[in-house]
């Protein structure tokens, strides 16, 4: 192909305006592409690596780590029992201060009525909410990561209604978010924890005493299973270890062990009233291991029969000899 001399001249004589007009758009596109390349090259993308073990640990919510007491009350119904046992421990005012955000963790895992004793007694939870609010708590959140549909569990257990009446707020895995916390231990590591617990100033664990096919009895430390979100079924391969480590990671201000009714078989879901025993008892403990040991004793299980308690003692969570720290009411 032969170039005409005119065309050659045209190239030499090109004006600045024409040069910019011709090359400008291409130059701008080139700069934009180059900028995009520099900005995006080697970015990590959306792949989610396993939860980082560099996450923060949980707050220690205890008032006094050396305070290891257990007060038992009975015979007056859940609300009265709570008032008496709390009174023996110095009253709620010793644990909840003006303006505190309080998280209450009952067992509200199942679509069961209070009479079936699968969930914590709703009157007890309501009384605890009232006490906290009376002590000046700015907000009281009652929460669980339910095993059944949480809406049904909170409704059927009576907890939703009684908490609302008492002035508290209910939360569960479907209506609050989570935050990653490193729970440490040998089998836990990082987990998502329901946010109201992470953000609370004080935390009160309110488990119910129930039979459990694997751990024999489920009381307080196993109840923390409802505070975390994730592959909880996997924790059952070393359940005692996992529950003891949960007890090590979650250090509550108080443990209130509900034994208004206890489930003696078919736990932890229950269902049959024949397996429910009306005991009308309750314990308030600053020592979670003592609380669990007392609960187990109601089902006739001694601490030495429960590996969970031995591991928890070794981890320094508390003392399973509840009789030595008991305050009778």
């Amino acid at each position: 192909m032969k170039e005409t001399p005119d065309a050659v001249k045209a190239y030499i004589a090109i004006s600045r305006r024409k040069l910019i007009g011709t090359w400008g758009p291409a130059a701008i596109a080139g700069l934009a592409l180059g900028g995009t390349g520099f900005a995006l090259h080697g970015r990590q993308g959306r792949h989610t690596p396993p939860l980082p073990d560099s996450a923060l640990a949980l707050t220690d919510w205890r008032m006094d780590p050396d305070d290891r007491r257990l007060a038992i009350a009975g015979g007056g119904g859940p609300a009265e029992n709570l008032r008496r046992a709390l009174g023996a421990m110095g009253g709620i005012g010793a644990f909840v201060k003006q303006g505190d955000k309080v998280a209450i963790k009952p067992n509200c895992a199942w679509d069961r009525r209070p009479q079936q004793a699968a969930n914590t007694n709703p009157d007890l939870v309501a009384e605890l909410v009232r006490q906290c609010l009376a002590a000046g708590a700015s907000k009281v959140t009652v929460l669980d990561n339910s095993c059944h549909d949480p809406g049904r569990a909170f409704d059927r257990s009576g907890i939703a209604a009684s908490v609302k009446e008492a002035g508290g707020v209910c939360a569960h895995q479907n209506n609050v978010s989570t935050e990653v916390r490193n729970l440490g231990g040998s089998v836990l590591g990082s987990w998502e924890v329901l946010r109201p617990i992470v953000e609370a100033d004080r935390v009160i664990n309110v488990p119910i005493v129930k039979h459990h096919s694997l751990s024999r009895v489920t009381v307080g430390m196993k109840n923390w299973m409802g505070a975390i979100v994730g592959s909880r079924p996997n924790l059952h391969q070393r359940l005692a270890q996992a529950c003891a480590e949960l007890g090590d990671a979650f250090r509550p201000t108080l443990t209130v062990v509900d034994a208004t009714r206890i489930l003696t078989g078919g736990g932890p879901t229950g269902g049959s009233l024949a397996q429910v025993k009306n005991t009308d008892l309750l314990a308030v403990a600053t020592d979670p291991v003592a609380g669990d040991a007392w609960g187990a004793s109601l089902l006739g299980i001694e601490p030495q029969d429960m590996p969970l308690l031995a591991i928890a003692e070794r981890l320094g969570v508390g003392n399973s000899d509840w009789r030595s720290v008991e305050i009778s009411v």
Binding site: M1, K2, E3, T4, D6, A7, K9, A10, Y11, A13, I14, K18, T22, W23, P25, A26, A29, G30, L33, G34, T36, G37, L40, H41, G42, R43, Q44, G45, R46, H47, T48, P50, L51, D53, G185, S186, V187, L188, G189, S231, N234, L235, H236, Q237, R238, A240, Q241, A242, P307, A310, I311
Partner: protein, 501 residues
């Protein structure tokens, strides 16, 4: 013979076709660096653009594609006319079909429906922006790799799967259509051509026509590959820079150059898409995207035996990066990596899944991650998949025993093949030794295999060698794959020393 611009173009096309073939066959040759073997895919601008939109990253060498876009913004769709091997194959096809077919003004005039490729591009980029990367379905470079990887190579590997026929059928259809209309696919459907076309509109160097000497004879339209009509207002976005028009011009009025003084000053014709159609397509894409993502696939919907290659990112991230090129499949020495059709849903069409009856994941091999152009499969250390003296860092699943099919379990017939083959140390398969009686009443000793899930890497050698035909008696499930913390069945043990007992 005088050397004309067209001859340089043909030389370039031939060289790149051979480069494509050479690199394709080097995918499985571990002496060739993986990034080199998949270089054609890194050169593809849609690899970069779709990954950038879907996962906000430009992994590995994919940024090179942006340079191709820059070059296109200077000189037009040279990639289409001079480099693209699918373009070359179509070119070859129309050449074989004869001059009376390909050199016709009627077939080489621009038609409004050629704008369809911009709609295709819009849909694919829209899907990518919403997290599902499917440009590879129609992007010519992955399409061609896939047709060879899933459709051709399995023929001599003995690993043919249905997806391979679909992948190869797409290529065959494209070539057949090009016998009827030159570069039908490039003109009508190619999303890469559409993307390059957008940038070509900026090009200062393009086909220019001298106003005073052109007689309007239409000779230039006859051999035009892109149907871009150099005669009128030149459609630079459609032009493949094949340069056929230059030499057929009897008046020497056509040039490929920067604008000269006597050149026709023409507006670049618009893309024929229209605002209304653009907005409708964008809206429809936004509605369809979630359906494509979850239809029978994703983390929740994928089949339990959809095993991803080692080093795969978690399912969502993987699907946002995988361009379904099949490079991993072509690189696999055992032929275990198949192209998926159904196990991982619509969003997983053509993505790699392992078929353990075809092969197994060789413990020390990391080739698939080496060749993956977007790091949908990460680059692994050779030790990562091996479980020698400790559990493997990267696992792809867990083997399960089907005691109803296993010879020693179900039929009192001695067999130890799975245990024998298990490459982990200690072995992830142990024996339960029992005494039993055969039909004559003679006492026999049976070694019944039992799986130790914490040691299993999911490599599938046991399933591959199981003598029980069809459905093996030991089969790998995806559970336990290290890529996704959600798909675990075993309790995580961080510190063994603190454990009770």
């Amino acid at each position: 013979m005088r050397i004309r611009p067209r001859h340089w173009r043909i030389l370039s096309q031939s060289v790149f076709l051979f480069i494509f073939l050479g690199l394709f066959f080097s995918l499985s040759d571990s002496r060739v660096p993986g990034a080199l073997a998949s270089a054609m895919l890194a050169l593809d601008p849609l690899t970069a653009v779709s990954t950038a939109l879907a996962d906000w990253t430009l992994p590995r060498w994919s940024w090179v594609g942006l340079i191709v876009l820059m070059v296109t913004a200077l000189v037009g769709r040279v990639f289409c006319g001079w480099v693209c091997p699918l373009g070359t194959l179509q070119h070859l096809m129309s050449w074989i079909s004869g001059p009376e077919k390909r050199k016709r003004a009627k077939i080489n005039r621009y038609r409004p429906y050629f704008a369809l490729k911009y709609i295709v591009l819009l849909v694919l980029l829209g899907l990518a922006a919403l997290g599902s990367n499917h440009t590879g379905w129609l992007d010519p470079i992955p399409l061609l790799h896939r047709a060879f990887a899933a459709g051709v190579r399995p023929l001599w590997m003995g690993t043919a799967v249905p997806a391979g026929w679909v992948a190869f059928g797409l290529l065959a259809a494209i070539l057949l259509l090009s016998a009827w209309m030159p570069r039908f696919f490039c003109r009508v459907l190619c999303p890469l051509g559409a993307l390059l076309g957008l940038f070509a509109r900026l090009a200062p160097i393009r086909i220019r026509r001298l106003d005073d000497s052109c007689t309007g004879c239409t000779l230039c339209v006859l051999p035009c590959q892109g149907a871009d009509e150099p005669l009128g207002d030149h459609r630079v976005s459609e032009c493949h820079v094949c340069l056929n028009c230059l030499e057929v011009c009897s008046e020497n009025s056509l040039f490929y150059r920067m604008a000269g003084d006597g050149d026709v000053v023409s507006q670049t014709p618009d893309l024929n898409v229209g605002r209304r159609r653009f907005l409708l397509t964008a809206a429809a894409t936004a509605v369809v995207a979630p359906v494509v993502q979850v239809a029978g696939g994703g983390f929740e919907g994928s089949s339990h035996d959809a095993i991803r290659p080692p080093g795969a990112l978690d399912e969502e991230a993987f699907l946002s990066r995988c361009i379904t090129c099949g490079a991993c499949s072509a690189s696999c020495p055992t032929g275990v990596i198949a192209s998926d059709f159904g196990k991982t849903g619509l969003g997983g069409l053509f993505t790699p899944v392992l078929n353990m009856r075809h092969g197994w994941c060789e413990p020390s091999c990391i080739r698939c991650g080496e060749v993956c152009p977007t790091s949908a499969l990460s680059l692994l250390a050779p030790e990562a998949k091996q479980a020698i003296g400790k559990p493997a860092e990267v696992t792809i699943g867990t083997a399960f025993m089907d005691r109803g099919r296993c010879l020693p379990w179900a039929m009192d017939t001695p067999c130890i093949v799975c245990e024998e083959m298990c490459p982990t140390s200690p072995k992830a398969i142990e024996f339960e030794t029992v005494q039993s009686k055969d039909r004559e009443g003679k006492t026999i000793t049976l070694q019944r295999p039992v799986i130790i899930p914490g040691l299993c890497t999911g490599c599938g050698l046991c399933e591959n060698r199981c003598p029980v035909g069809g459905q093996a008696a030991i089969r790998v499930s995806s559970v336990g794959e290290s890529r996704d913390p959600r798909n675990q069945m075993l309790q995580r043990v961080i510190v063994t020393a603190d454990l009770e007992g």
